[in-house]
Every structure is written in structure tokens, then in C-alpha cells.
Symmetry: D2
Subunit: 342 residues, 4 copies
């Protein structure tokens, strides 16, 4: 059994992470921490987790470094807000722990871009060089050997999984990419804000974060890497009245002569052996991926304008957060990649 | 009091239409028809409408031409499926009635395009020339004098209201337009289909009708008319888990030098005196328009790619169907345009 | 035109009240106040209300007594939290204004019971004697002549409308009454609390406030008044995943020999001329009353146990709050009772 | 690996059952059948199940007895409508298979009561005597040895789990029991009926099936068994706008002197070692049980009327259907009872 700790377990991603780890056959949860709930039983604060043998008996620890270092965990999941995660990562890495960070703190290679998008100095920039961007389908080998994995964001995963193979293969024109995504409300976090109240989000649909949502920075970093040149895209996120799920509709012009079949063949080659990417015959629907670590992708041709319409769906809390974090962890720990996920 | 009839009152648009007419100060409902429910009280079949003085006492008539002609109504609302509406329109127009058709049957000027998108011959093509496309903000004068108004579709209204003034003024490049829209489930009609069940649509988000949704035909007709040249766009509709509301996110490249301010100034000029188009400071949200005849519009600039992001929201059953039909009717009947709507 | 003011217009009830008053043919809104938003345009803070001629041009006033007294309004709606409303009511009544209070502050005749249920001294107890409990169907004459009307609560209205006539007529046994109600989330108010977030309320159903919800006090006061003796009931409210609507399922044993027909006959006599109470053939459903001032009621017999099952549905923000307040106001101002409501 | 077959896999319960079996460590799915979809890939018809190694490669078989008998499965799950299930059960039992029936066909011991509630003769009444009512917490030993287990219904499980121990211990008065339950819409099945459309169920809450819902028959059978005398209750089911989850609010008068503490002590004794029944400190909420096999229960006292208020929550498709079926199967097959469920 591999010992792990979850730091910041009472947000939506942290709770989902605990739920997945609770059924992981090779994991022992050594500690779950929460500044706010230290000393209380996990099953009391997160009643959904009560009754799971491996988690419900636990008591929230405080979130001090000492506590985390002494709990015996070799792997530490950080489910903290950006800005806070990096304060934990550096000393934990130095102390020999392996980190799976669910925040945005280590997803960018360039501290300047971090400052541009997050509005503050990074402060632990020396770790950016070694941190690995955590989408196993794109960086499996580096993840397996990393000390610090920056598990990818929810919107980015839904956009990168379909696009990266196409850019690598030179099938689409990077400058034409437009992504229109919609997320369930859990994506906004468990924050007591009026705009996230039930009666403000139900029977509601709205764009937000225009024109420069923070996730754009990591999306473009990985797209540019795949394309071998700077790629800038237009990205519009929306809030949709559902608990979970991200749906992305992506528009791109193909390179000359490229058709839907070429796209599908490219994906087939890239993902045929991937356990968590499904090429669907029907159009993706978040209801088919919610509660799972799958990302569904499909493509259609708009003959009239020559554009490709690429669609994807994932659970923002699973493949978009906690499930992907566990998938990364499985790789880092040498466990079966699908453990607790399939 | 102006006498009106509603043919096909038991779908979502027909029901909403009755609800609006029930509070119209200058209207007497002479007949509501339903093939399926003829002989039954309106308030029994549509319990939401029970207790409204001007409608709940009514009994559904059969939908025969004789009945409609004899009920004394000067204005006839057709809330029927496409294909069926045109069978009623021709004889009613010939008999001197004025028609507000909520279906797609008379929205296209070209019977060939009808056939292309609807898969059948039109059959009443001689009326296409005189039918007026029913968005008052775009065709007010013709509507006022028309015998047959083809009240515009839900998606088209949400896309045309923001785009037509911009194309007329030459502010955006027609060939770059991409519209990604989401509709509440009432937009699919009151049809007993598995895919529309609650448990198939809740916690679900999915694109559909790709790549050539029927509404594309009327959208392009009106955009081309505004641009003075053929405009072809990419259009992706989505089904979102809400009863009502359409949200459209539209991408377009501006003509050289055109900025967000130019777009807003153009809209201000076009819509400053329009009672039902609101230029919003915040991003549009369907929750602010549901239950009303408003269409909210806004624009943002994506400096990084040079694109404009145009957003709109409306209630698919009101400004997208029944409310717009009443607005058209008010114009045709010489009544205050906002009667029963504000 | 009668001049009115709305104090505390930015909660859900206050916003709904403004929406109804905006279409009231005999009302001029002299002021809307908000401590938080004073100086800002109503249409900016409440974008749903933008574009309505009679309200969107208004600017929120501060909520000081001076402002309210000087705005020229004869009738003042108080849409404030309990405890705060009574601080405004006394001086306004003394200054000759007529008050429609949407809070719980003046619904109880007995300051001791107020203290028991609300946990604090009343502080304006001298007004309790003259305040009239604001359900027009039960206290129409007193409301018409009152200076201070305590518009009834949402749960109470849904329970009292079906039960009061039955207790008055001696058809049911008061001691057997059990009410199980469910409310949409807007009933909890526009409060930034974690438990009211979308992702906490969607796909959720839960009881709360057991066993002594505050509304129980006014329910029992009015039931006892109707029965002519003290009536104590069991009441369980639930939070259901919808924006609006209250559904109450009420269990009661009939007096010897009383049947469903007797109940329906009693209601028919009590409510046949009431514009806002509908005896429905089918079982009530909140979807049929949402957005309206109707309360739907029905009854079934459980032959096997001898109990009556009484069901009701209303919109918690309309008949349960703002609509009822306007109905009360219409009576107090000598206007048609259904103005702006039908 | 134990071989199983699922007959009728394309309803909501059947799909959920396949999802649970797909992650069962000791099960091989030998066949899934569907009259409607025979010959098609499971992952195509039920895209949620695509990509699961043990199920997605399967093709729907026809639902003939021959097919089922020849597939090699020792255990057969019947996820069929009532009436149809019993046609399969008899020959399969005779052929030596063990049956877990998710329908209502074998839940009643008395064929007369079946006829009373289901309106038709049973037709396989000889099996009623040996069939075991499938709630493991109540009938574990019999289930383990049974050839035919009638997995209990969703409403009944949520009502029986809290009440049976109390009646056995003589803590509550059977004649005072009233249950008011609410179910998510998946409980109504995947049926193309207008009343189950999204736009008919969202922003809707309504009672149905009054006063004699079919599940009442099995509820009373088991309550009477526990009480040692005939118990008749009042039961009102409601449809609530959510996909999953059943919440039951149950009213009962305690026997003289019995308090909340006695109830909780009784439950603690009955359920302390049960893996799937949780006594919760906070009030039960379906969001905490959805997706799990837990049933949460709690009790409150209404001092003012002397009644007990008992609350429970479960996932109608898991503990109320497919999860419970697997729990029963685990017992019958000698596997760990929590396999695939915790």
C-alpha cells in the first residue's frame, strides 16, 4: 500500500479526490488536511464520504508542513487554491516527497506568463523548470519520473486532448482555433459567492472571464509546444446549469486537403490504446462522462465553410481534476494507470 | 378589441402565446384549436392557463379551416409544425385573414433553399414572395403592412439582432462568422422522445444537428441581405439543461480598424429606441431575459487574436417565438408594439 | 397613479415585487431603496429589470427614513429581513404611510410567540394588535382598511389556503394535521452561504429547520383562529432543486363521515369567486403556478387509512411573497384586486 | 470469476447494473440482452458504458431463453418490466440458474395482493413462496440461500430500512405511519412519455400515484411482518426535478415513553455493522448518497405534537435498484457483500 496525503480536502476537487482514493486498491490515506476543519471527522464535514472504510475514520489534520511531513505519506496531493499550493510544494519536494498539484501553480513553464495571467509574482519559479504538465496522454514518460506534476486544468484537458495530436500532425491551422466551452458550476469551487447561488445559476447560461481566462495560458503553452510555433486562440468559457461536466466546441480550419477522416485517423493512432480517451460515433455529451475519467471526442465537417467542428466532453472534477491527478499519481507510483479509475 | 385565433395551441410556443394573449389589453381570443384536444377546456389540458379570465373559459376547437374562418378572428396565429402551417396559410390569406406564422414555412424567400434544408417541396411557394420575415427590429415597416408574417426562429433572432446592423455598417467580415448557441429544452418542442426525457437532458450538455441545422437557412438569408452579398457561417446549436433561454456566442473578425467601441456605437444607433433590445454592460445571461421579450446583447474584444466576441441572450419561447409573434401582430394590427409585452 | 416605494429591493422578493409593480397600470414607483446599492441604477444591479419603462430609469435610494418619507409615496413595501422591518414600520405608520410588510415582523399577534420562534424581543409590539395578517382570501375586509399589513409567508399561504375553510367548517381534526412542504431555493433568499450554492442544491433534496421552523408560528396562529381552538401541527419543510415554487402535501383525518366531496364542496363555496385559488382536477404542480399569483389546491382520500391527502402549489415569490403583497396593496389602495396580477 | 447475465440492460436500472458489474472484481459478464438492441454493441447504445474493459466489447444478445441459458451464466439479473420478468424467472430457476429480479414480480408473498395492486393475475405464483424479499439488511440469511431473490423497490427500501427495526422493537405505533417520499425522474424509467420530458419535470414538483401506489403493497407486507400484525400506512410519492435520489420523510407516533434516543439506539444496534446504512448527525440529503449504495437515516422529535419525524435518503438506481441487486448477488454467490459497491 502506498501512503498518500491530501492537502486541502474540503473543496470540490479535494472531496472528489478523497472519494476516488477511498476505493483505490493500492493506497492508504495517511492524512487529509483542512485549515478550516482540523480536528473534525472527515465523514462529518463531507457526509458523502462517511462510511467508506479507508477515509471515514480519518480526522482532518491541520495543514502545517510538519503535519504533512510526519504523516508518513510519500505522495502528496495539493488541492489548494493557486498561490497557496506553491508555498507547500517547494519544502515538500526538498524533503523528498512527490507532489501532485491540482492547482495552476506549476502548469506554466514561464514565470512571466504566470504573472501576466495570475497577476502576481510566482515566488517558486525555480520549480517551474522541473514540473511536468500533468496530462498522461501527452506527457506520460515525464510524469512517471517526475517529483512534481502539475495536474492539468479542466478546460485545458478538454481542449488539449483533441487538438494536440492534430497540431503535431500538422492537420489544422493553429491561428484559426476558437474554443467555446461550458462548465458545470462545481468548476467555480465551493465558494460562498452570490453569483454561484443555486437561484443565480439554475435556468441561467452565461459566458464569463472574457477575453482572457487564466486557463488560456496553459492551453496556449501546450498547443504551441505541439505545433512547434506560437499558437494564440480565442477561448470563451460559459457557466451552465449542471453540477459537473465540461463540454468544448472547437472550431478550426484544416490544412489544405485535410478531411474529417484524416482527423479521426490521427486520433485513432494517438489514442487507440489510451484507456481514457474515447472517439465517439455520436456527439459527446457530458452525461456520458460524468463520474468517470473519460474524455470523449468527435469531429464533424462544415462543408459549407470548410471548417472542422471538434467536440469534447469530460467530468471537470474527474478527468478535469481529481481523476487525472490519480492517473498521474498511478504513473508516478508505478501502479496500474487505471487503478481506482476503471 | 381585436379578435384573434391560435391554431395549434398545445405545444410550448402555442401555450406561451395563449399566456401572453390572455393578458393582452386589446385582444379577444376567438378560438384556440387543437386537433388532439378538440372539445376539451383549455384550462384542463393546459392547467397553467386555468383561471385566466380571457382564456380559461375557452374550449379547444378542432383545427379545420371552417372553424377557423367562422370564429370571427381577423388575425390568425399558426403555432403548427413546419409543413402543416403552409396548408393553412394559403386559404386563410385568400379569405382575407392576416397570418402570423410561428413555423419555418414562410421564412425563406427561395423555395429551393426550403427544399434543401427541409427535405421536401414547399407547396405554397407563391406566398414566399409576399411573406415578411418577422423580426420587427429589422423589418418593421413591411411587417406593419403584411398579410403574412413569418415570425422568426429562436436561434436566428439571437444571432441576427446583434449581427445585422454590423454587417449593414460593414464593421465585420461575413466570412469569419461562427455562432455557438445553446438552447433550453423547450426549444425541442413537446414531443414524446426518449432523447428529451428529463433524465437524458439534466446534467447533460451536447451539440446536435451538425453541421446543417435548419435554422441556418434563414440566418444566412438575412445576414446576406444585410451584407449585400452571400454570407455563409458556421453554426453549432447545443442543448442545455434548462427549460427556457437561448444564449449565443458569436465570433467574427472586424474589418480593419474596427473596435468594440464601433460595434457598440453601431448598436446604440440601431437599437437605442428599440424597446426589446438591451445593450448590457455585464455579459448577457438567459436568466435576465427568461419570461420577457428582451434580447440582451454585448461585445468583447479578444486583443490577442483580433476577434470580436459577440454575446446574446433571449427567451426562446418569448422573443424567440410567442412574444415576437405578438410583437409582429401588434404592428400588423396597429396596436402599441409593446402591448402585453412590457 | 398611486405612488409607492420599495424598501430593500435587491433580495429575491424585492426584485420580484419591482417586476410586478413595473407592469402595474395604476402605480408609480417613487423610490426603491437599497443600503448596499444606493446611488446605482436599478437596471444595473438587477439586470432583469433593465428596460422596463417604469423601473429601469430609477436609481437606488439609500434606505433612510428621511428618504422614504420624502419620496412622496403613500404606500411603502418593506422587503427587508425580519427584525429590520419593524424598525421602519413604526415611524412610517406614525407619519401616515400605509405599510405592506413582506417580512415576518408583524404576522404574529403575540409578542411572546415572536420571541419564542425568532429568539429576540419584538421591540415594536404595540403595532402587533393593529397589524392585519395579509392573506386576502382570509382577511380581505380588514386588509382593505389597514395601515399595516403583514403579508403572509410562503409556506403558510400554501398550508392555510386549503386548511382554513376546512377547520372553520369543522371538516377535519386539527390535532391530526401534518404538513410536508418543499420549496425552491429562492425561498432561502439571496444570501452568500455555502449551503445554498448551486452545486450543493442541485441533485439534492433535504429537510431542514426541524422540528420548529419559524413559519410554524403563523401557521398555527391562523389555524387556531379558524378552528376556534388551539391547533398544533407537525410541519417539515424541504429544499428542492428548483428556483421557485412551493408544494405542500398535507395529511389530516376528517371528522366522522366527512369525505373528499365534502372537502371539495367546502372549497368551492369558499373560493369559487376568488381569482387566485384554483381547485384543480389533476394534482397540483409548481410548474403550473410559477410566475403567477395562483395557489392550486386538490384533495384525495386514502380509503385504506381514512386520511385525507391535501395538496397545494404556489410560486413562493409571487403568491408566497411579492404577488400577495401587491394583492394586499391593491385592496388597501382601492384598486382592482387583480391589477398587475392577472 | 462468476459468470452473470443481465436481461433487459437498456433501462436506467439495467444500465446502472452494467456500470456496477463492469467494475466488479469477481464477475464476468457473459451476456447482456435487449430485445430492442440485439446485435448492437453495448457501448454504442449505452455510450456511458463504452471503454469499460469488461462490458464495452459486449454485443447485446436477443432476450430469448435459449440465449440466456447458453451463455454460461450461473446468475441472471432480470431488469425487466413487471409482468415480463416472471415469464423468464420460472424456466430459468427450473434450469438451475439463480435469479436476482429487479422487478416487482416476486416481491409479494400473496398472489391476491399482486392482483389487487398490479391489476392482473400473477401467473407464476408457485414461485412466490420461495422467492426472498431482497433487502440484505432485513433478510440476509434467506438471501444467501435463495434461488430467486426479488430485489426490493426504491421507495420501499427507503421506508423499510428505518422503520422495520422500530416496529420489531415495538417503538412506534404502526397505525400512525405516514410516508411522504420524493424521487428523481429516473425512477419513472426510460419511457418516451410527454409527462417525463425535461421541460415538464424541471422547475416542477408534484405528487402522483395517489392514493395507492404499487410499492405500497410491498411496504406494508414487510412492515406487517416486522410488527407481527397488519400495518396499513399512508404513502405519497412525489416527482422531484433531479435525475437520481429518493428522500423519504416519515411521520409516526412513538409508543408511550419512547424518545429519539431510543430510536437511535435501536438503529445503532440494528445497523452498526451494516456497511450500507448510515445514521447521520445532519439531516439526510440525496446528494450525499447519489452514486453510492448507502441509505442514510436520521430522526427528530416534534415535542409539540409528540410525533417522530424519520428521514432517509438513497440513490433510487443504486440502493434502490442496481446496487441492492449486486449486494444480493454477492450474498448469493458467496462473495464479499460490498464487492463493487465500496
Amino acid at each position: 500500500m502506498t501512503k498518500v496525503a491530501v492537502v486541502g480536502a474540503n473543496g470540490y476537487s479535494g472531496e472528489e479526490l478523497c472519494a476516488i482514493l477511498a476505493r483505490h486498491p493500492h493506497v492508504q490515506i495517511a492524512a487529509v488536511t483542512s485549515r478550516q476543519h482540523a480536528g473534525k471527522a472527515v465523514g462529518e464535514i463531507l457526509p458523502r464520504l462517511a462510511g467508506w472504510p479507508s477515509v471515514s475514520g480519518l480526522t482532518f489534520s491541520d495543514s502545517s508542513l510538519e503535519t504533512i511531513l510526519q504523516c508518513g505519506a510519500e505522495f502528496i496531493f495539493l488541492a489548494l487554491p493557486h498561490g497557496l499550493a506553491r508555498e507547500f510544494a517547494a519544502p515538500l519536494v526538498e524533503a523528498g516527497r512527490k507532489i501532485i498539484d491540482l492547482s495552476a501553480d506549476f502548469r506554466l513553464r514561464d514565470a512571466e506568463i504566470y504573472k501576466e495571467f495570475y497577476g502576481e509574482d510566482h515566488g517558486a519559479g525555480h520549480l517551474l523548470a522541473e514540473a511536468v504538465y500533468g496530462i498522461p496522454e501527452l506527457h506520460r514518460a515525464e510524469i512517471a519520473g517526475a517529483r512534481l506534476v502539475a495536474s492539468a486544468g479542466c478546460y485545458p484537458t478538454s481542449i488539449l486532448l483533441p487538438l494536440v495530436p492534430l497540431l503535431k500532425a500538422g492537420l489544422i491551422q493553429g491561428s484559426t482555433i476558437i474554443a467555446s466551452s461550458a462548465s458545470g458550476v462545481s468548476g467555480a469551487g465551493r465558494k460562498a459567492e452570490t453569483s454561484l447561488l443555486y437561484a443565480e445559476c439554475n435556468e441561467s447560461l452565461r459566458a464569463y472571464g472574457l477575453p482572457k481566462h487564466r486557463h488560456l495560458s496553459e492551453i496556449e503553452q501546450e498547443l504551441s509546444l505541439a505545433a512547434g510555433e506560437k499558437v494564440a486562440i480565442t477561448f470563451v468559457p460559459h457557466l451552465a446549469p449542471m453540477n459537473r461536466g465540461i463540454h468544448s466546441t472547437i472550431f478550426a480550419s484544416p490544412e489544405e486537403g485535410v478531411t474529417r477522416k484524416d482527423v479521426e485517423a490521427c486520433w485513432k493512432e494517438a489514442y487507440d490504446n489510451e484507456p481514457f480517451v474515447r472517439l465517439t460515433a455520436a456527439l459527446p455529451d457530458v452525461k456520458n462522462v460524468n463520474g468517470t475519467n473519460f474524455c470523449d471526442i468527435a469531429v464533424r465537417e462544415d462543408d459549407r465553410t470548410g471548417r472542422l467542428i471538434i467536440l469534447s466532453a469530460e467530468d471537470n472534477l474527474v478527468k478535469g481534476a481529481a481523476g487525472q491527478a490519480v492517473q498521474n499519481f498511478n504513473l508516478m507510483a508505478g501502479l496500474p494507470e487505471t487503478a481506482a479509475l476503471l
